[in-house]
């Protein structure tokens, strides 16, 4: 079949199965503006910024236009430019533009387009932005209707990808507001704080709760020993904030940057990812041996935990009681620096971790395990504020004795990583052949749902991996209807796993694929591949936990019930 081509601005643009003209244009290097379109969500066609003109002078939205062979469109005729200008003027007339002090400033798409399309003077001076109240109920995100442009991306993300529907369009016309039903606040809905709505929000209408000032205060307090841990996927999200490629991990520079910020001790959460695998594999094998109800679900993801609590509480007893790697490291830090005035900080790709850290269960021996959670994004801002030239930093190693980790810990950052690590642990063989077999068993890849079988000795294990809560719900439905059986199910609330977390710099699918690649480069760079090889584990179990491993590393949430 001959190659299909359409003509955009006089340029021949080949296309295959792109879903609309907008994608064809972008793939061919022509950036048509849009505020309500996302490649992973259904098409809305509401913002009217992507209007293009055809040969007859008719305008239509490129996001809702099917590409066809020989189609001719123009993206910057006078008519198109005038229309864009008016649309932006209208959007600005109902947007509280406090740009200088807005958290989204510098990455707001409305701001960017207003500048790009030369909206230099507001045409409609009476601003009709929504006076609906600010929603600060969530520890993870803040909703500010006064900055909402009603593009509906958050609504579709929450309903289509996460299957939650915490917010939707309510009321009508100029009173329309994206909000939970019945005037409720986010915390009263099924919201799990995953932050995916904030990641797609083109303006500052949904932002991640910013705790940067808190961190500066502690860094500048000479009495405080600031101990920081950073999660696997932080090393693959941070680079983009400093114009570096997403496909290379920046672990060494990250450690140096934290030290230069004034952090006293830097640890890599990878160690407790290894530890999680030790505990979780043991728990799993125990359940298999005892004939307990399976599948066992993973427990590292706080968004997933909240989703189980809110939407499937009856499944909670099947969720592993292992604390998340963040929680486990928090517990180790408290043991390591028992009598010191430690401020325990976790840098996470995640907004739901801000909630997790506040949970009453994350307190042991009368102390909070984690004092503060900052996202990858907040860390990037700290580094910039400190004037650090990140790109040219030398590499450093995390501090000892809790600085060791294996490749099994690093891969926690992607969907399937926890499962692959569990399989590495259970097969207990670090030979390249076995590792290759594991890598090719079906566990790797960015698909929303993966299901496969692994033989471990005489055990045949049916395993499934889901990312995105909508996919998790689909899987649960199949399990509950008896259509499928699984022994083990990994769930990460965010699409693609933590590399696509709500606390990471927002990224396209292509960018996330690069992060995926980077995670496995970090795995490749580790000499040790299976968690039981981690040399620090002996110290952790014998010197720090001293027989209290279960008490300190496991979390029993109320819905877990009695064990």
């Amino acid at each position: 079949m001959a190659e299909k081509k359409m003509i955009i601005d006089g340029i021949e643009c080949p296309f295959t199965n792109e879903r609309n003209v907008l994608e064809v244009a972008r793939k061919n290097g022509i950036d048509i503006p849009s505020l309500c379109y996302c490649e992973n969500l259904s098409i809305y066609g509401g913002c009217r910024l992507c209007l293009v003109e055809n040969e007859k002078g008719v305008m239509d939205a490129a996001c809702s236009m099917q590409p066809r062979n020989g189609l001719v469109v123009y993206t910057h005729t006078k008519k198109v430019l005038d229309s864009r200008h008016t649309t932006l003027q209208l959007l600005l007339s109902s947007h509280r533009a406090e740009c200088l002090t807005c958290d989204e400033s510098g990455r707001c798409k409305l701001q960017e387009y207003a500048h790009r399309y030369n909206v230099v003077e507001p045409r409609f001076t009476e601003n009709t932005y929504s006076r609906a109240p600010l929603d600060v109920s969530s520890p993870s995100i803040t909703r500010d209707p006064s900055k909402c442009i009603l593009c509906g991306l958050c609504v579709r993300m929450c309903a289509e990808v996460q299957n939650i529907g915490a917010i939707d369009f309510t009321k009508r016309g100029k009173k329309a507001v994206v909000a939970p039903g019945f005037g409720k606040t986010l915390i009263e809905t099924g919201c799990v704080g995953c932050g995916q709505c904030a990641a797609v929000c083109p303006t500052g209408a949904i932002t991640i709760n910013n705790q940067i000032p808190e961190m500066w205060r502690m860094l500048n307090d000479p009495k405080k020993k600031v101990v920081v841990q950073f999660a696997p996927s932080v090393r693959v999200g941070l680079a983009e904030e400093f114009s570096m490629p997403a496909s290379e991990p920046v672990t060494g520079k990250l450690v140096t940057a934290l030290k230069r910020l004034g952090v006293d001790v830097v640890y890599d959460t990878n160690l407790t990812a290894d530890l999680t695998i030790m505990e979780e594999s043991a728990e799993f094998l125990e359940k298999v041996k005892n004939g307990d109800k399976l599948p066992m679900f993973t427990s590292c993801c706080p968004g997933w935990i909240q989703h189980v609590e809110k939407a499937h509480p009856h499944l909670m007893p099947q969720v592993s009681t292992c604390g998340s790697p963040m929680e486990m490291f928090g517990a180790l830090i408290r043991q390591q620096f028992k009598d010191e005035d430690v401020y325990s900080v976790a840098i996470m790709p995640c907004t739901a971790k801000k909630f997790e850290a506040q949970r009453p269960e994350l307190e042991k021996d009368g102390k909070r395990l984690i004092d503060l959670v900052l996202t990858t994004d907040e860390l990037a801002r700290l580094i910039k504020a400190a004037g650090i030239d990140f790109k040219n930093l030398p590499d450093s190693e995390p501090d000892s004795p809790l600085g060791d980790y294996t490749g099994a810990g690093v891969i926690f950052g992607v969907t399937g990583g926890v499962t692959e690590a569990v399989i590495r642990r259970v097969l207990d063989d670090a030979s390249p052949e076995t590792l290759k077999t594991i890598a090719e068993c079906g566990v790797r890849g960015l698909e929303g749902i993966k299901a496969f079988e692994v033989a471990a000795g005489d055990l045949k294990l049916r395993i499934a991996v889901a990312n995105g809560l909508g996919n998790a719900d689909k899987l649960i439905e199949k399990v509950e209807s008896g259509e499928e059986y699984f022994d083990f199910i990994e769930v990460m609330a965010c699409p693609n796993g933590c590399i696509g977390g709500g606390g990471q710099p927002p990224a396209s699918n292509a960018r996330k694929a690069e992060r995926f690649e980077a995670i496995f480069k970090a795995d490749d760079a580790c000499e040790l591949k299976i968690p039981q090889q981690n040399p620090a584990l002996g110290y952790v179990y014998d010197e720090l936990l001293k027989g209290r491993a279960h008490e300190l590393l496991h979390i029993h949430y109320p819905a877990h019930g009695h064990h």
Binding site: A159, I167, T170, A179, G181, T189
Partner: protein
């Protein structure tokens, strides 16, 4: 609306097969019974038809004919369309506000008897100014007739 009788809601849901594509018909039936859409009923319906609360609330608040606020026993629709306006419906409206103790900002009377709504046209311009009380049309209204009507309804209640 504490402990509302969900059996009625169940019967409505059953009538419409708990089908979310019939959500408007479901809400109309509920509103006919209660004269408004109680939150508890909507939350229950959302769960039963498998729709998010926010989506259902979005549909309910989109249409002007659905009300989420409890209404009085007598819903008075005062026509403010062109024909009624020319024949001084504003005076009729003011008389009704005064007689029932309501206002544009506070459409429900304290005694729970009256709800005042402004509508754009009732399609009965020849009878203007028109006020509709529940299903009854009152034609050629004057402020005096409006006050008398309120008195009469209070006695009947």
């Amino acid at each position: 609306m504490e402990n509302m009788d969900l059996r009625f809601i169940d019967s409505v849901l059953e009538k419409h097969d708990s089908d979310k594509s019939k959500i408007i018909a479901i809400m109309q039936d509920v509103q006919e019974q209660y004269r408004y859409l109680p939150q508890e009923a909507l939350e229950y319906i959302a769960e039963k038809v498998g729709m998010s609360e926010s989506k259902l609330y979005g549909v309910a608040t989109f249409y002007g004919n659905f009300s989420l606020d409890a209404k009085g026993k007598y819903v008075m629709k005062v026509c403010r369309g062109t024909a009624c306006h020319v024949r001084k419906s504003s005076n009729v409206l003011q008389a009704l506000y005064d007689a029932t103790g309501t206002s544009e900002q506070k459409p429900n009377s304290d005694d729970g008897l009256f709800t005042l709504e402004i509508v754009s046209c009732l399609g009965a311009c020849g009878l203007s100014p028109v006020v509709m009380v529940n299903d009854t049309v009152h034609a050629a209204m004057t402020p005096e007739k409006a006050r008398a009507l309120v008195e009469q309804l209070k006695e009947e209640a």
